[in-house]
Amino acid sequence: MPYIQNSDADRAAMLERIGLSSLQELFASIPEDVQLKELPAIADGLSESELQAHLAELGADNQPATGSCFLGGGFYDHTWPAIVDHLMQRSEFLTAYTPYQPECSQGTLQWIFEFQSMIAELTGCEVANASMYDGSSAAAEAVLMSMTQTRRKRVVISEGVHPETIETIRTYMHHMEAEIVIAPLDGGLTAWEGLINQDTASVLVQQPNFLGGVEELESLAAEAHAAGALAISSVYPVSMGLLKSPGAMGFDIVVGEGQSLGVPLGYGGPGFGFFAASSKAVRKLPGRLVGQSVDTKGRRAYTLAFQTREQHIRREKATSNICTNNSLIALRGCIHMAALGPEGLEEVAAVSRQRMLALVEALEQSGVPRAFPEAPFFNECAFRMENEDAVQQLKDSMLEQGLHGVLPLSRWFDNMDGIFTLACTEKVRPEDIHLLASLAASCQTQVPA
């Protein structure tokens, strides 16, 4: 019996001690007519080696990128040092619960404190929490928090925010009498003109945006504040190696998806969301917070702080319903950031962008221009081909060469036929950039204009 240690003899002795004669009697409180008469209709159990073989067979139907992965759209194929995977298998991290008993959880509590510190530094904010489910739900919680703080019910969201994040926010806010205003993209960047007013609870911008464009943030924060609204930014954390942090430009809340900080692509999860804000908002924050304190002997010690915001204490009056977050994955991010250090983060950001610059140049030479040439880009960029067929053809020919890439934007946006994005990380091989460019050149010539 998998993973159950007791033998039949053990079970018999235990039943006797309880004063029962069969296992069935343990379930006497379940009405008999709703007890299963037969076993559930699921397949018979496998041995460990059969399981390995089965998963290998199933996994053979998947095609992870064998060459470079040029897909972006929120998840990026960065590398990480071996120390991350090594430490993740420390079972004291892996198999611990939420650190409600601080004395036997100082390991988890201290790394969360360090994680919060690094996220605060990265985003330019004063405080950060212990993690959220992902970047999209973190953005939704940020928008909700802005409505609570301002007591306003109108939010202005850039069309350049990840479409699945906007969908998540719409779901979270569906039942509220609140207004979501979408600030449109114009030339690959957000046009906010005339949309931020005295009823606005917050503005939400993504940096870089879903099309790869680097948005102008400083004036946006000022405009939001002038209207009494909060400024919220979702950021791609690797870009913080080169780009100014939203916090430094006056943003009130900075959230994001942490997957690019040492987390495998994992078909979209689990990554981790992060949530940072100014310290005056601490009592309104969703999720767990770890604080530094002392023990009874005055020694430094860490503990969960401000638990009275949370559901297990405040129940229906809690700031959020979040309980389990994505802690272990945030630990990956914590170790990864510490392994990089300031220079390492800058290097990853720089090489990722250098690859993107090389790709832009190579594609332009192949006759595939940037779709929005006026918009500055970071490591992801929108390109234009004649039509959707050409885009599909490029995608297919890349796949034949083991390259993943090409996100056709028509999936999410109107009037974007023939426009697609590609992203680069430091893992992208220069030879694959040239291969991609030559594939693009042949797709361009084969499709009649």
């Binding site: 019996m1 998998p2 993973y3 159950i4 235990m14 004063g19 296992l23 343990l26 379930f27 076993l39 699921i42 018979d44 041995s47 399981l51 996994g59 053979a60 998947n62 095609q63 990128a65 929120g74 194929d77 990480w80 120390i83 090594h86 430490l87 079972s91 892996l94 619960y97 939420t98 004395e103 100082q106 390991g107 919060q116 690094m118 990265l122 004063e126 405080v127 969908e167 039942h175 680097v214 102008e216 400083e218 080169l242 780009l243 100014k244 430094r300 503990t303 559901q311 229906e316 809690a318 389990t324 994505n326 170790i335 510490a338 990089l340 220079e343 950001a349 720089a350 962008r353 250098q354």
Partner: protein, 485 residues
């Protein structure tokens, strides 16, 4: 073992120390074409350490944690069972971990097949065939289901149904999820058997009832034996019944919530399906509902057509609750678990979980007050006796003393309906010897407590720190290293 204080990474940081390099960076070249106003002067001040010091830092931190692989961890309602190591090895393989969420469906058929089959099996185990694997954790699943309920009510034009009944023994996430989804909470009392009070429930049901959130087995470890009638009462009043599946380990393979009349429930894969808790996540909180409600489930569903799997948004979907397809690598581990168990193994889990809980209960019930001392499900609630309380000993002292004995304490001060509660859930993966040894310790502590032994107030003394001043962390908040400097 002496575990010395571990400096913060920032304190051990020395300029120029490095662990990981990326070659070929050229800041000037890299910033070409970016407006200077968008660029920072210096990178974020992350700590700078060499690889060996970094490795020691985190290894030493890990040694300051209790975990299932080292300690018995009978944390009630959390189902801290063994997390099979083979699942970790499988989930780390490139064919699962290397998939990009936006790659085409035909290049991820194995992943979609796995999700499809896992959803099918969870539907079979719960008797609720329409399943979404999208939610990231249990509370996220609750919120998802309540939004499904709301969509169902809205479609029927029943906008006045905005009240959700929640028993007083429920997890805090239940009422919090109600508020977040725009429902108001009506608390239903427990009766003297520790179960949902039917008379009190009947009093609250009416035209404004949206539904009931019930945990079954409940947080006292007791099966709500009136569950069929409860579901009928709520249905007759025009509402739906949601079951918090946190305690599904007790009944897996034995009974199916769908057969009781439950309309919706979530499962915590990080509890019942053995995926690691990771110090607080990642979890996964699939929601299983009746066929009637399938059309409202969040995007995406996995459908099979002619042997091909693809992602599909249900017609009246509530939308997305997060990006992409759920905590996929958690789903891989859960799938492995279900495949290893098979139907027989699933039932064995429940049988042995309930057996272990009852065995532990009878070993200690002469020494501790067990308020509902009858055959329980997968967990039971105890509390200090009057003699212990008279001696000035509280549940917190018991918990801390257990830490000194090498055990992670049970859940304490929950459920709220039992004063000074100690909720113990041993799980099926523990051996008889482990339970015997733990019971002996509990009996020893009972004697110490009745005598008012100072040890209990001082505990823990064997850990890297003694009791931590939680009030100070709020009064004088320090939430990061040199915050705001």
């Amino acid at each position: 073992m002496y575990l010395p204080p571990v400096n913060l990474l920032f304190e051990d940081s020395r300029p120029g120390r490095r662990c990981f390099r990326t070659t070929g960076a050229d800041r000037t070249a890299a910033t070409a074409g970016l407006p200077s106003s968008a660029l920072r002067d210096t990178p974020p001040a992350l700590p700078e350490l060499g690889e060996l010091d970094l490795l020691r830092h985190f290894t030493r931190l890990s040694q300051k944690n209790f975990g299932i692989s080292v300690n018995f961890y009978p944390l009630g309602s959390c189902t801290m069972k063994y997390n099979p190591v083979v699942h970790e090895a499988i989930a780390a393989r490139e064919e699962w971990s290397g998939l990009h969420p936006l790659q085409d469906e035909d290049t991820a058929q194995g992943a979609l097949a796995l999700m499809h089959d896992l959803a099918r099996d969870l539907g079979e185990l719960t008797g609720l065939p329409a399943v979404t694997l999208h939610p990231a954790a249990g509370a996220h699943g609750e919120l998802t289901a309540l939004m499904v309920l709301r969509a169902w009510l809205d479609q029927r034009g029943e906008h006045q149904r905005r009240k959700i009944m929640v028993p007083d023994s429920a997890h805090g996430t239940n009422p919090a999820s109600c508020t977040l989804s725009g429902f108001s909470v009506v608390t239903v009392k427990s009766d003297d058997r520790g179960l949902c009070d039917l008379e009190d429930l009947a009093k609250h049901l009416g035209d404004d009832t949206a539904g009931l959130m019930i945990t079954n087995p409940n947080t006292l470890g007791l099966f709500e034996d009136n569950i069929v009638e409860i579901c009928k009462m709520v249905h007759d009043a025009g509402g739906k019944v949601y079951m918090d599946g946190a305690n599904f380990n007790a009944i897996m393979g034995v009974a199916r919530p769908g057969d009781f009349g439950i309309d919706m429930m979530h499962l915590n894969l990080h509890k019942t399906m053995s995926t690691p808790h990771g110090g607080g996540g990642p979890g996964s909180g699939p929601v299983c509902v009746t066929e009637e409600l399938r059309t409202f489930l969040p995007a995406p569903q996995i459908v099979e057509e002619e042997g091909l799997y693809r992602l599909q948004t249900p017609e009246h979907s509530i939308g997305r609750m997060r990006a992409f397809h759920g905590n996929f690598l958690v789903l891989v581990r859960a799938y492995c678990y279900v495949r290893r168990l098979g139907a027989k193994g699933a039932r064995r889990v429940a049988e042995n979980a309930v057996l272990n809980a009852n065995y532990l209960r009878v070993l200690v019930d002469k020494y501790w007050r067990v308020p509902y001392n009858r055959v329980c499900m997968h967990e039971f609630v105890a509390r200090p006796t009057k003699a212990m309380r008279d001696a000035g000993i509280h549940t917190l002292d018991i918990a801390k003393r257990l830490i000194d004995c090498g055990y992670h304490p049970p859940t304490v001060y929950f459920p709220l309906v039992v004063h000074e509660a100690i909720m113990a859930e041993p799980t099926e993966t523990e051996s008889k010897e482990t339970l015997d040894a733990f019971a002996e310790t509990m009996i020893m502590i009972a004697e110490e407590a009745a005598a008012g032994d100072e040890k209990l107030h001082e505990a823990p003394v064997t850990m890297p720190v003694t009791r931590v001043d939680e009030a100070r962390a709020v009064r004088d908040p320090q939430l990061c290293y040199r915050c705001g400097d």
